[in-house]
Each structure stands twice: as C-alpha cells, then as structure tokens.
Point group: C2
Chain length 380, copies 2
C-alpha cells in the first residue's frame, strides 16, 4: 500500500508575545516524511484537558478575547497581565503547538519493522502537539489499540488514566495506605474509584454537591463526603478514621481545602494516638496539588501537627521516576480497559476551527467538572 | 567523694485540662537515684526556645492568664480555645515537664564507667524536662563541656546549633547548592551565617528591618535582603540569581513570605532557563517552615512553576534520619565552638519561679527576634 499523498495540515498554535499579547491561530504546516522509526498519524481525536489549558491560554482571561478572520484564518487575541510575563520568559515570542495526547490512524510509516507494524492501525499517542491534522512521531510513542477500540475511545488514554494510576502508585511508594481525592466526580475521579475498587484501596472522595455525591455512589464509591454539607468536617474526619488515608491529591489548589484535609487527618490520627507528641502527631501527612480549579491562593492555617507537606504533583516527573518499564506496565493496563475502567466521556466533539471560536473557548476554559471537550482535527 | 544528699527539687509543669484550661505550676518532685548508666545533673542553665513555647503555653493567649499563689506555690491559668482541644487530645489532663536542652553539674553518678566519668563535670544535656532543678538522664545524653566553658555557655548547645547545622545538611542531602533563611537576624540566623561562611555555602538572609540588615552585615553576612524595603522583590530575586538558592527555611510560617520566596526562585530560575517548560521550571523549589513567628495562615499564591513543596521541618525527625553517628559528628562540632560559631546571647536570666510571673511570660511569649531568656533553676 503506497503512502497517502499529504502535503500540509492545520496545526493549532499558541503564542505569547513579549508585548503581552496572547495569539491563538491555525498554522498551515508541511507534513514531513517519517524517518525509519517514525510514523505520521492522521489525528482523529484529542481531548482538551485542564493540563492543556495552561499552555493554550496562558494566564489570559477568555472574557477579554477578541477574534478576527474566519475559518482556518481565525486569529484570537487577548492581553496577558504584565505581572505574569516574568514567569513566561522562556516561552515568549514562540509559536507553540498544543495537545498532550490523542489517537488516530497511521497514514505513513518509516522503514523499520516497528514503524511498518503500525501502518494503517488505530493508535493512541503521547508527546504533545496533538492539536494538529498530521502528527509525526516515534513508533515507541504510539500504542496500537485493541480491535474494536476507536480513536475517540483511545484519545484520553494517557493523561487521566496515568494520572489516576500515578496517584495510587505514589501513595504506595510514599508509604501511605489509602488516599483522598478532591473534585472527585471528574472523569479522573471516576477512574480513580474504579481503580481503587479493583485494587482494594481505600479512597475518600471529596465532592462539592449532593448530585456529585450521588453520581459517585452510583459507580460504587465507598467513601464520599460533600464539602457543601454542614457536617463536612466531621464526615471527612470519620472517612479518614475509616480508611487511614494520610495522602491527598487535590485538583482545586486554592482556598482552605488543603488545610482542612490536613487538619482532619491530624484529628483522625490523634483520635487513635497512644502517646502525646509535643508538636502534634509525627505521622507524615501529604497534600499534592495537581490541578488549579481555584487559581486563588492556597490558605494554610497550620494547625495540623509536625509532619506535613503541601506540594505540586505532576504526571511527567512521576513518569520519569518510574522509568520506561514502569510506564509500559501502566500503559498496557490502560489500553486493555479503555471501554471500562478508563472510559472517558465527552460532552462535545469539535474541529480545530471550532476550538478557536470565542464561545467555545469560554466553555472549555471553565474547566467544569463533568464537562469534557474532544477535538477531531480531521474535521478541519 | 560521696553523692550530695538531695531529696526533692522544683520542676516546672504544664497541664491542659479536658475542660479547656491551661495550668502552669512548680511541682516538688523527688530526685531519683541514678541507675548504673545514669547521672543526676543539677541544672544551672536552660533556654526558653520558641520550640519550648508550644508545649509550655499551648495555644493559650498570655493576655488572658491569671496567677494565684506566690513563690514556688504560684499557679498560672488561662483558657484554651475549644477549637484547639481536638489537636491536643493526646496531652490532655497530663502534667508535663518542659525544656528541651540545658547544662549543669553532675551531682550523682551511676556505677558504670561512662557515668562515673561525668561525676562533677559541667555537661550539656538533651532530652526534655530541663526546667527542673535536678535532671536524671542517661550518660549518653550528656556531653561534657571543654574546660572554661560554663553551663550558661553550654545551655543552648542543641536546638539552635543542630537546627542550623541540620538546615545546611538538609540542603546538601536534597540536592540544593545554597539556601534562604528568614527571620535571619535571630540567634539561629547568626549561627547559620557563621556556619555558611566557614563552609563556603551561599546563604540569602531575609530580615525585617534595616537595623537587622546592619547587624547581619556586621557579622559578615554576604546576602541580606530587607523585606521592609520597597525593592524587596528585586533584591531577593537578585540574591537568588547570585547564590542559586532553591531551598528556604522559614521561621515566620504565616502570610505571603513563603510564596514570595518560591515566586522569586521561579523568576530567578527562568532568567537563566534555556528552554520553555510548559508549566514553568522543573527545578524543585522547597520551602521548609520550621517556626511560626506568624501563626496566621500561610498564603500561597501558586505562581511558581511545576516543582515546589512547602512542608514542615523539625529537628527531631532530621536527627532520626541522620542516625547516632551523624549526630555525634554535629554535636562535637558544636561543643568545641560554643564561644564562637555557636555562641548564644541572652537578654535575661531568670529562676523557675520568675518564669511563671505574668509579665515575664508575656515577654518571652512574644518570641521577639534578638530577645532570648535563660532559666537558671538552681536559683529556685
């Protein structure tokens, strides 16, 4: 089968200028010939994850965005606060591609056996720059999907599934026996419940409404506490006593929630403590912030003993820590369960052009729990 | 030489009752006979460190304290906020002795060679319960002082010196090359400057007034930034560029300082970054809170990249980590330099009875930088 004749494709680009302006556009980029170990994949499904939005929109406020041009010539601009520019120094004046993960069909393949084996197959991909029509990448960054699994099924195979598995793995490696998760009704949170139920691990789900609590209980979550309930503090403490959780993964970031979790952990630990420890318990309590649904300050009222830490958790450094072998094991668990444990649900599928329409940007920039956008670049 | 005849001694006690009342008093306690490997030390000097105040006063407000009785029969009481009681569960209704470290003369010694070798010697001690007239302890928790070094010289041999040395050791073990210290004009901060100058380690001192800056520069500090100056942010960033410091030890705890340090570190790192990293720099930035001069919430505006952590640092877990051998090395460095690198300066020396007078409590509870109290229990 000869390779398809494909010369150029559209690629979404994000640029922040030194002058303090964000510019989103679609570039017409040449489709390169693959090297021996490379393939070109026609991208058919790539999700908009919260982790993509930082690169895509930077600190710009969608409410201030303006749009010119139409179709593939659209250009979206917005001011970037001057105070944020020092933190962006290394990306200024560079037109950057976006999109962590995706799936599609291999349309060109290099000469190596590994590359040729992928020819014509539907594959999941990782490596960035997925908001593009044709993605050149190394064969080892492709994962062929089992028969009957579509590109849409396999688009969100990496970030959420590996984040959920990474939380459980981090919990084990750092010596904790159960974990807490916030914004727990999210796609990721639902996956985490399925994993913990399969693996017999205690999980305390913190949600923000009775509806979210109901949703999680419906999929078999055992410990669900609702931060909007008057009894939240007591409910959380009881769930921590029941599970023994001393590590939390927090998607919210801002506000008092991290401190509330650490305080409740400290109370739960002291409830069963045998002996007074002068600064509070010496059991290490950890909160990892992995998202920023609330971009406001984290407010830590430090009344939670002598052993605690609040830090950033991200997938990439975690994957570096476990190495290629550890990654492959997790990847295989994912692709073999994409329709069950690791299924993602999308509220809208859009084209690249639609991804740059202002009302659409405003919608996905909200990062609302339960809402999830899928881009199909093959639609233009 | 026969052992002195000593039957009882005064011992300062702190009690928090389940009913929510703090009670400070002086107990008359029997002086026990030492076991074979033990000694009894007549305590002549024991400092009031910030780390003692948590156990001594709990969360009680000195302004609400009342006093009854006089002399050794004094009793000080104060209400403890009900919200704090759950965190104190393990100490409630127990009369606890106080005082981390001290020095004095060995007046009774057990039969072992190690104990007999200490007889009549002036020793530094560690192990708690030092606000007492006679302290029974194991010979291995005593450190004989060099000739010409008094109990007052050796009283603060452990907490501050080992904390300062522990910061430098933690910096090295966690892969950083220079460090930041806040409330840097303190006794501890001055020691840290002497250590870093001796060892050739970059140290950024953050102080809160021009007077404190002058004091530190006077003892040879190279990087001093004043948080009360309009140019604080720029000064701090420049000092971080100059030193490459990516770890900070913070005595303040509350407020925005921890976040300001992390932000300045991120800007300093990005100034020299070669390549844009999508969530900010991947260089790990660490703030350890080791004190709480500001007991208000820690306010973290999280604009400092993808690799950061804010956690509690305390001497005891650090010492456990380095083990007995590591500790002995640090201890010996300290006792051989008690009049130079590790010298402490006291603003007042008080008796046990004076330590429970309300104006005195109000004074030491302030934890003012540069002010330091020494208790001499042999004065009654």
């Amino acid at each position: 089968m000869p390779d398809e004749k494909i010369n150029t494709g559209l690629e979404l680009r994000s640029l922040i200028k030194k002058t303090g302006e964000l510019e989103l556009s679609l570039a017409k980029v040449p489709v390169p010939e693959p090297g021996p170990d490379q393939v070109v994949v026609k991208v058919e499904a790539t999700p908009i994850n919260p982790s993509d939005l930082g690169l895509l929109l930077g600190p710009a406020d969608p409410a201030t965005m303006k749009s010119t041009g139409s179709g593939a010539d659209v250009k979206v601009t917005a001011p970037v606060p001057a105070t944020a520019l020092p933190f962006l120094a290394a990306r200024l004046d560079q037109s950057l591609p976006v999109g962590n993960e995706g799936a599609g069909t291999v349309v060109k393949a290099g000469s190596s056996d590994a590359a040729q084996a992928l020819k014509g197959k539907t594959d999941s991909m990782v490596g960035g720059a997925m908001y593009t029509q044709y993605r050149l990448l190394n064969a080892r960054d492709c994962q062929p999907l089992p028969a009957g699994t579509t590109a849409a099924d396999g688009a969100s195979w990496f970030v959420n599934p590996l984040t959920a598995l990474g939380m459980v793995e981090t919990m084990k490696r750092e010596g904790h026996k159960a974990l807490v998760h916030t914004a727990a009704a999210s796609n990721l949170g639902q996956m985490l419940n399925k994993i913990c139920n399969e693996d017999g691990i205690g999980l305390v789900n913190i949600v923000r409404s009775p509806e979210q609590a109901k949703l999680l209980k419906g999929i078999g979550a055992k410990h669900v506490v609702d931060s909007s309930a008057a009894s939240f503090k007591d409910d959380l403490t009881q769930a921590l006593v029941d599970t023994g959780a001393t590590i939390a993964f927090d998607a919210i970031g801002g506000g008092k929630l991290a401190a509330q979790i650490l305080s409740a952990m400290e109370v739960a630990i002291n409830k069963t403590a045998k002996e007074y420890s002068r600064y509070g318990s010496s059991v290490h309590k950890q909160v990892y912030i992995y998202g920023g649904l609330n971009t406001g300050p984290t407010d830590l009222s430090r009344s939670f003993g002598m052993a605690w830490s609040v830090g950033r958790w991200l997938l990439t450094p975690f994957l570096q820590k476990i190495g290629r072998e550890g990654q492959v094991k997790l990847r295989e668990r994912v692709v073999n369960n994409l329709k069950t444990t690791f299924a993602s649900h999308y509220t809208r599928t859009i084209s690249l052009t639609e991804a740059l329409q202002l009302p659409t940007i405003a919608a996905y920039a909200k990062r609302a729990t339960g809402e999830k956008f899928l881009i199909d670049p093959s639609k233009g």
